[in-house]
Symmetry: C2
Subunit: 401 residues, 2 copies
């Protein structure tokens, strides 16, 4: 049997790795572990009654359609809703440029499949979302890693890279409350990024799952909106977002907006991937949206997450030994720890697991290695009491190191 | 804008084509067209009340889990159910070798991603399911097309190919009521196929969405069951099936069973594709299954489809001009037409569309071209009256050709 399967797999398959998030999701199933590992929304914030009512309605209104095969692009009324809603953010695109995906993770896979050839350069923030890196690794890109600071992607670094002649197939950016660091691209850098894109013919893959989850100020203007503002149409940006953080991730309903040439190919590709996203969940999402739920519900999520962030930041200030630093995210779901040089986060995780608390070692978020002294902490999933207890356990484990 | 996008896409993307089925799904939206095109189940056969009750229960029992992120492998109780159910067919595999997919189409995409390198040979029936060909085309395999007759795949032809030294990465077979031809691999050929697989180290991708939909005799023994019988474990066969034809396709819940080396890589890959299949639909499927619905419901589907097949075969006998031949499928959803030499099915489709009736020209199902004088007709979707009317319209269009 070893003989049959050992030499069987495609060349890129050897590049695949099981992700730390995945293995940690398994740990969260043990009830006595406090996990800051997975990027999970607070289940207390799911609009259960509204979704149950929408599920009932979807099967009452038109059950034959809700349970039948559907169009690859997605359920048209949902796409019309998304087109209108994105327009309120400045992303003015016709419904034909909106496609429903099976979570925004599928939007990442589609981007890789459409744009990456083996060895082709792909520019990513360093660190970047490990689910994107994982989706693309088997396609064997050549990573172009770009510096990141408290104002998000270092656009000067990007410009240096482009000026040197390198032409990445695309730049991947989580523009708001980045996963894993929690930082947000500043307004000035957003404008400069679009100018650079226009100058160098750069395609930007903007991943924006967290943009609505701001705790201070107002909604950042998506890069996609600036692109439309600059060119009168979506030209450089492929925009991804999702209901996973606004309604519930279990529905697996995300979407993309993109230029026509890209959407046309994405639609043909998705047909091969899964024919279409599940009809029933798309209607459940649409019916809750049609009812105006998002504008009532998202402020509630913001309040819950803001409180949890505050508790985590306060607990970190109390519990962390000197030399440990962390970001102060203005929204989203993640906080990013930097340990003193010489401390290894994976070693610390082992100590922490003995204390029944978990996080994600940061190295997994670096495309080309490094980051052994960093860690991602999720603050959206656990209750304030658990956050306090978990950070205290981490502090004890860190001090013992 | 043309400049920005024209040279942007990965090399395999140029191989992608929009499928005839997809374009025809759009036609079926016109209420006055009778479509034998799409491979759609009869919506009258969806167990709407049972699914609605299961949806309600899923959100009552454990809403936080039904709406949250889940494990990539799938919802464990559903996988346990599938493991037990497959065992009744002789496919004895532990739950660890069962993975839930977003429809069995995703199982096809996963197979391509894991097993195909550009230029690698892949063996397919000629004709074969166009959704599989479409899923793999951008991966640029070298097609090895194998003859098919009324007893299914010509295993002598396969053996000649293997004896000549060619080593396909895998053989793709729709083992029961094949899409598009409706033919079923005979019991004798099934045994020989497993012997050939053992002799040559061949991997078989068995796609079995229609196996339960037999109108005569009994359930054919899956190749996966024969593999387990021969080796004491699943060794050569990757088995795909789905609830799309047994419950409803809109849920997008399919599954695979495969050897451990394959399942391990498939799980890592699926994590990058979409993290996991939708939690809510998996629970809805599980709760209806737990309740014993399948064994009560599948016989109803069989009766509905058998009656529609009978109507279609009778109408074809009455309406088709001399020289047109067709298969007499013993189950499934499709009937396959062979036109007299010189007649082109795509040209005939244009005439048929003027008469407001549609089918799929067969050429789309031939990996390497050919089949211009063939056509696929679906008999599961349309009511008996519509089948009679539609075949009569086809007859009129054919006679005018």
């Amino acid at each position: 049997m070893t003989d049959l399967w050992s030499a069987r797999f495609a060349s890129g398959v050897q590049q695949m790795r099981s992700s730390a998030v995945r293995d940690l999701l398994k740990l969260t199933e043990q009830p006595d572990v406090i996990s800051f590992g997975g990027g999970l929304p607070a289940p207390e914030s799911f609009p259960i009654e509204e979704l149950a009512a929408a599920a009932e309605l979807a099967l009452l209104e038109n059950p034959a359609a809700a349970l039948q095969y559907g169009l690859t692009e997605g359920y048209r009324p949902l796409r019309e809703f998304l087109s209108l809603r994105m327009a309120t953010l400045g992303i003015r695109v016709p419904v034909e440029q909106v496609m429903v995906t099976h979570g925004s993770q599928q939007g990442l896979d589609i981007a890789g499949r459409l744009l990456i050839d083996p060895g082709a350069p792909v520019a990513v923030e360093d660190p970047s979302y490990l689910g994107a890196l994982g989706a693309w690794r088997s396609l064997q890109p050549s990573w172009v890693t770009l510096r990141l600071d408290r104002d998000g992607l270092d656009v000067d670094h990007l410009e240096q890279v482009l000026a040197s002649g390198l032409r990445p197939r695309f730049l991947y950016v989580v523009s708001c409350f980045q996963n894993p660091t929690g930082v947000t691209l500043s307004p000035e850098r957003r404008v400069r990024l679009l100018e650079i894109a226009a100058r160098y013919g750069l395609v930007i893959l903007e991943d924006d799952p967290y943009g609505e989850l701001y705790f201070e100020g107002s909604r950042a203007t998506p890069l996609a909106a600036l692109d439309v503002q600059m060119h009168g149409e979506l030209r450089h940006v492929i925009y991804l977002s999702t209901f996973s953080k606004q309604l519930a991730p279990g529905l697996r309903v995300g979407w993309m907006a993109a230029p026509p040439a890209y959407i046309a190919r994405a639609t043909i590709l998705k047909q091969g991937l899964d024919l279409h996203s599940n009809s029933f969940a798309q209607r459940v999402a649409y019916l809750t949206c049609r009812d105006g739920l998002l504008d009532r519900h998202i402020p509630i999520i913001r309040e819950v997450y803001r409180a949890r962030r505050d508790v985590m930041l306060a607990a970190l200030a109390t519990e962390m030994p000197a030399g440990v630093n962390w970001t102060k995210p203005a929204g989203g779901m993640f906080c990013w720890l930097t340990l003193p040089d010489g401390l290894n986060a994976t070693e610390l995780l082992k100590r922490c697991l003995e204390q029944k608390v978990a996080f994600v070692p940061g190295a997994a978020f670096y495309a080309d290695g490094g980051g052994e002294h960093t860690a991602r902490l999720n603050f959206s999933f656990s209750s304030p009491d658990k956050i306090r207890a978990g950070v205290a356990r981490m502090g004890a484990a860190f001090r013992g190191a």
